[in-house]
Symmetry: C2
Subunit: 254 residues, 2 copies
C-alpha cells in the first residue's frame, strides 16, 4: 500500500504542475453534454495521470471524469477527477481539488485530495491513517446535530424528495455552508466541519473522499449506510462523528 | 486619499496578524442575537482596528460589525467587518475576508478586502484604480447573461419574493456558484465572476466591496440601481460589465 501511496503522490504532483499555472488566467471553458464546464487544465491533468498509470501499472484499470473508463474490471482501478469543482476553478476560487483514489475490487482503499493553489494535500488509505500535508488528522466528535456545521455544494443537486430530507437535517443543525465541493469533505476530515450530505455524485467525486474520511476516524456511506463503491448510486453522507452519522442516516431513510 | 489608503493597509495588516494564527485552531464559537457566529478572532481584530483609528483619526466615526457605531455622523467614517464569512473561518475555509471601508458623508470612497490566509488583498478607491496584491485589476466584459457566472452566498438570505426574482436571473445565467461571501465579489473585481446578487447585507458587508468593484470598472448598487451608502437597504447587485448590470437591474425591479 505504501508504494501505491507514493505513486498517488506523484500523480498529484504532476496534476498540480499542470493546473496551478493556469489558475486565474484566460482559458476556454467548454460545456460537456451535461452542461458542466471543462477546461484544458482538467483534460491535460487527467491525460498526464492516465499516461503515468498505464506506464507504471499497465494491468490496472482507470476510471476518469474526462476520458472515461479503461479496463475498469481489473482488481485495482485508479479513479481520477483532475479538477473537482471546475466551476470554482474557472471563477478564481482556490477551493477545487484533484481527487485520486485506488479502488480494489470496486472498494476505495486509498484516497488523495490535492488543492494545487494553496498547496494542501489530504491522503489516507487502508492501514494508513489520514494526513494533511504530512500531519496526522482526526475528524472531531460532535455529539448532537444541533451543534453541527453541515455543508452541501448546492441544494439544486437534490431531487425534490431528497431536498425535503436534507432540509430536515439542515433545520436541526447549527450552521449550513454552501459550495466548496471536495474542499468541504477535506475540512471534515481535518475536524472543522461535521457533516456533508450530497446527491448525484459519481465515483470520481466520492471514492477519494471516502478513503480520506474513513481513515481519519469519520464515516462516509451512501444514504442507506452502505460503504461506497464504484457501483454506489451517488447519494453520500459523510460525518466526522460515527454516532452522529447513524443518527442522520435514520433521518434520511425513514 | 493616498494617506487613507496607506492607513487602511496598516489596519488590514494588524487584523491579519490577529486572525491568521487562529485559523484552523480550536476556539470558542459564540452565537450573536441573530444566531450568527462570532469568535475571539472577530472581536480582537475589530478592537485593534478601532484603537488604531481612534488614535490616528480621533475625529472620524467608526461603524463595526462586532462593536457597533461610534460618532458615525462624522464626515469620515470607517466601516469595519473583521471577518466577513465567519462560518467559513470556523469551518477551516480560507475564503473569508477582512473588510475595511472609508465612507465620506455616507458614501464609500475607499475599500479594502483582505484574505489573511492566502495573503490576498484587493484595494480601490476614489481616484485610485483597484489592485490585487499591488497589480491593477479590471472586471471582465460579459455581453450576455447567458454567458455569465453568477454567485450568491445562500438563497436562504432572500425573502420569497426576492428569491423568485433571483431565480429568474439564475435560470438565464450560465453557471451559479454558492457560498464565498466577500470572496466572490473579490473575484468579480478581478474579472473571474460576472455577477453577484444578495440581500440582507449590512454596510460593513457591502461598503468595501462597492469601492473595490466600482474602481475596477464594474458596477455595484442596490436593487433599484442607486449607489450604495450607509443607509442602503442591504439588497445589492454587483456586475463586472456595466451594461449587463443595467439589464439585470431591469429583471429585479419589474
Amino acid at each position: 500500500m505504501l508504494a501505491f501511496l507514493e505513486f498517488a503522490n506523484s500523480l498529484a504532483d504532476a496534476a498540480r504542475e499542470i493546473i496551478a499555472p493556469l489558475f486565474r488566467t484566460p482559458f476556454a471553458v467548454d460545456a460537456k453534454t451535461d452542461n458542466s464546464p471543462v477546461t484544458i487544465a482538467d483534460r491535460k491533468a487527467e491525460q498526464k495521470m492516465r499516461e503515468m498509470i498505464m506506464q507504471k501499472y499497465p494491468e490496472h484499470g482507470i476510471c476518469g471524469e474526462e476520458f472515461g473508463r479503461y479496463n475498469e474490471d481489473a482488481e485495482y482501478c485508479w479513479v481520477l477527477d483532475p479538477i473537482d469543482g471546475t466551476k470554482s476553478f474557472i471563477a478564481g476560487l482556490p477551493t477545487f481539488g484533484t481527487l485520486i483514489s485506488l479502488v480494489k475490487n470496486g472498494v476505495p482503499v486509498l484516497g488523495l485530495i490535492d488543492q494545487p493553489i494553496n498547496k494542501e494535500r489530504w491522503i489516507g488509505g487502508k492501514g494508513i491513517a489520514s494526513t494533511f500535508n504530512g500531519k496526522l488528522i482526526k475528524t472531531r466528535p460532535c455529539p448532537k446535530l444541533e451543534l453541527a456545521t453541515i455543508s452541501t455544494t448546492s441544494s439544486y443537486l437534490f431531487t425534490e424528495h431528497e431536498k425535503e430530507k436534507f432540509k430536515k437535517v439542515q433545520k436541526a443543525a447549527r450552521y449550513i455552508i454552501y459550495g466548496y465541493d471536495c474542499y468541504a469533505y477535506a475540512q471534515l476530515a481535518s475536524g472543522f466541519i461535521d457533516v456533508v450530505i450530497e446527491s448525484g455524485l459519481k465515483p470520481h467525486d466520492f471514492c477519494a473522499l471516502a478513503a480520506v474520511i474513513e481513515n481519519a476516524g469519520g464515516a462516509m456511506t451512501d444514504w442507506e449506510g452502505k460503504p461506497l463503491t464504484l457501483k454506489s448510486d451517488g447519494r453520500v453522507i459523510a460525518a466526522g462523528d460515527r454516532k452522529l452519522h447513524k443518527e442522520i442516516l435514520a433521518m434520511l431513510t425513514d
